[in-house]
Every structure is written in structure tokens, then in C-alpha cells.
Symmetry: C2
Subunit: 298 residues, 2 copies
Amino acid sequence: MSGTFFFKKVAIIGVGLIGGSLAIVLRNKALAGSFVGIGRGKANLEAALRLGIIDSFTTDIEEGVRDADLVIVATPVKKISETIRKAAPALKKGCIVTDVGSVKKAVIDEVEPMMPEGVHFVAGHPIAGTEHSGAEAAFAELFIDRKCIITPTDRTDRAALEAVRRIWAAAGSDVAVMDAVVHDRILAAVSHLPHIIAYSLVNTVADIEDSGIDALGFSAGGFKDFTRIASSSPEMWADICAMNKASLIEMIEAFQARLERLKRLVASGDYEAIRGDFERAKSVRDSLLKTEKSQRQG
Amino acid sequence: MSGTFFFKKVAIIGVGLIGGSLAIVLRNKALAGSFVGIGRGKANLEAALRLGIIDSFTTDIEEGVRDADLVIVATPVKKISETIRKAAPALKKGCIVTDVGSVKKAVIDEVEPMMPEGVHFVAGHPIAGTEHSGAEAAFAELFIDRKCIITPTDRTDRAALEAVRRIWAAAGSDVAVMDAVVHDRILAAVSHLPHIIAYSLVNTVADIEDSGIDALGFSAGGFKDFTRIASSSPEMWADICAMNKASLIEMIEAFQARLERLKRLVASGDYEAIRGDFERAKSVRDSLLKTEKSQRQG
């Protein structure tokens, strides 16, 4: 890419870990002039102001987005369309609106029809995060070497798409552009399904505890690693599941078939087939580590 | 406990991470005189000798256990009964035989009837390990603050049970004594089921990869944590699954019911019920961390 791009005014709706970190990137790279933070929690907005992430803030969405050249919607995924609906009347012509939600098709289907003439929506999803949240958790390096998926549609403005791609590239991310449905299926498989499984497993063990057997007391590091994601926000994950219903159910059913197969092999004592299944999984899992290492070294 | 206990000669069958570490503990605590290592791999036995874990070694089980006061069987779980069958003719009266297998009922059912008159078998399972194996991975601190479960039966000699309990207490473990079936159900829930799930999940994602969609490339830290145990030894885990069939199938089915419930809630869009399930799991998972912390501090 050649040429410069610069956003005179950026509005961040939801100045948390993701929104705050992206603002820091844009400021550090001198890709934007001023930043207005928009949110409902004043304490968080005040922290963001104190930290120099934003230059001003408001709790009024319309007021905040007025005259903005770039609007970053970093609210919980369920709130994205509602938020954009509120912002829409105040968006100026030429403005680019982008989001960071974990589900893309449902968001796009709701948001695209709301866009005023000449305002461009580009859906995005940085696959990055930490266990912390809020403006105080934000940092410039969050997106470095992380994947970011952008999911344009036939209606997406090509220049706006390119601008959003460059923002994430500037953040250090490895940007992929794909169809929203493909995104949702991939994320259902590698993220949403694992969460559903982790919550289900912990509840299974909790049921055993309730029956009077202290099982958790004998769990070791493997169980703690395995169930870490069951400590994720129930509200956020219930939203994601609700918004990615079709792909998630597809993946749950694919997993159920795999698990049922293993159960039958265990029941029939087919040791060789059990080992075969385990070996395939181990080889795939191990290849993941090799990829990770080569990326780090490369 | 008052009184001293001392094993003049200890035979370790399988001088790997677990067997080697326990030998180091017994030597450091001056609870034993000499150590003979028994195994099939000479290179590992030579390493154990060089490291001072054992004083001598042999590949002949009968020769190794002759005159031993304590025999620690630290082979893969599937080999335990076969190993003890070979050792039995040479075991001296008063000898204590203990194992470290991850499945207890199947081992006990096979081993108890083999015990010569006056030789005492006490089944045990230290819940400890690292990702490394072999004598060179052994270290004295492996068992500190880890749970160790001992599973006596009506036939277990009380003095031998007490001696094995004291060995693990000396290693720094938190020793629990329970019925073998309860052990097998607990371990099925917190260890064997999670492995079955992890292998099934990785294979589910591998199936998607095979269909031409690069899903693994978009997996993040959560997926890597969650599937770490799918990199475990397929052979060892196929053995464990085969040997703990009844409890494992019980736990797989309990999990299947939990997962099916969540799938239906997602399908019907019952957001509140989904969140309720997630909240219960999070609260149980978080309590696990609190317990861990208070144990560390305590």
C-alpha cells in the first residue's frame, strides 16, 4: 500500500481492552487526530481520559460520533447493532464504521440496512484478548501477530475495506478477509464450541459434586487448563452463542458425532481404533504448536 | 504417626518420572537402604544409575524383586498386572507391593488374587506429573502438595496400607484413602473424560480442516490451552480408557446430557437458561482457583 491515510476524528464506542488498545495504536502510529470516547460507564471513560487514550468523552452516542471520520464500535457483540442504530442519524458522509464483534453474519445483517447513504460499514474481528477488561487493561501491543478477520459483503465500499485493513495491519495483525459465514463457522469450531464444551464439562463435574463425591478436589493442572475458558463471562458467551446459533449447532453436532464414536469404541473395547483417533488428534494438536513456534521465529 | 519405618531393599519397576522421583524421595528421607531399578530400556536404567537414583539395575523382574521389602510398580497402567505376575514367584514374605496406576479397580481385581501368602499389595495413585518422562525427568519435589489416592480393599493388610500412606506423606503429598471404584469415577470425571473430549474436539476441527476450511489457523490461546491434553500419549490414554471403561462411559454420558441440554437451549434461543448454565459453571470453576490459592497460601 502506498499513500497516506489519516482520520481527523475517531469515535470509540466502548473504550475497553479492544477499543482502548486500537485507539492507542492509531495515536502511536499518528494515523488519527483526536479521539472521543463514548460509553455508559463514566469511571472507565475518566480512566481512558487520564491515560491519554481519548481526548474527550461523552455518554451521548449521537454527540460523540458527530463529525467523526472513523467510528470504532467495540461494545459487547449483542449491543453493536443497537449502538449503531443510535449513532446512524449523526454519522457524516464518508465516515467509516467498523466493529470488533466475535460474530459477524448476524451483525452485518442488522447493521448494513441501517447505514445512511455514503457511510461505510466494514465488519471486523480481531482475534485478541487477555483476561483483563476496561480501558486500564488496554495496550498498544495487544494485536501484534494476532489474526484479524475482516468480512466484507457485496455492499462493502472497497476504499473503506482497504482503510480498515490498513488499520489492523498497522496494529501488527495478520489480516484475513473472508465471508462472514465462513468466519462464523471457523470461530464456532475453534472458539464458541470449546466454550460450550468447557461449560458443559464443569457442570458435569459439578453435578457429581452435588451427588456427594468430591471430584474437583482431585483435579490436577490438566483440568484447570482445560476448563480455564469456563471462567469467561457468562453474559458475553451467552450472547455469542445466541448470535451464532446456526454455525454453533452445526459444530456441536459434529463434535457430538465424534464423541459418540469414541464412546462406542470404548464400550466395545476397540483399543486400536481408540488409539487411532487419539493419534490423529495428537498429530493435529502438535502441528499447531509447530506452526506457533515457526511464526514466533519467522 | 510415631515410630520409624525403613525398607532395606526397594525395587522400582519402571524408573521413569514417577518411579524415579519416588526413589529419590525415599533416599533423601533416609527411608530406604538400597534401590534396584528394573526395566526394559537399558539406556534409561543406566541414566538412573548415573544420577544416583538407583544403586543397581536388572532387566530380569524376578531377580530384581528378590529380597525386596518394597516393590514400587511404576510401569504404564496396562502393564501393572502382567509385571506383578512375573514378579510374584520371587516376592518374599512381608514384602509390600504398591503401584502408581491411573486406574485402580481393574488393577486390583487382577493383582490381588496373584499375591503370594504374606505379600501385601496396596494400590496407589499419585496425581502428579509433568510433560517430561524418563529417569532424567525425576525430581524429589514432584509430589509435594499433590494429591495421592490410596485404594485399599477388605483384603489389604492394615500395616502395609499405613506404610504406603507414610511413604506418600513423606513425599509431601496430601493422601486420601478411598474405595477403588470411587477413585475411578472421580478420575473419569476430572481426567479421563477431559482427555476424551479434547481428542474429540481436535478431531472435529481436523474434520473441518479436511473439508478445506483453515480453522486451526484462526485458533487463539484459549483453544491451545483447551486442547493441550490432546497432545498426551495416545497409547497411554487408550490404555486408561480401556481399563476404566464403566466409569468413563458413565461420565461421557453425563457430559453428553449436559451438552445436549445446552444445544437445545441454543437452538430454542433460551438466552437466560444458557446464561444460567454458564454462570453455574463459572462459579464452580472460579471456586477451584480460590481453593488453589488458599492452598498455596495455607
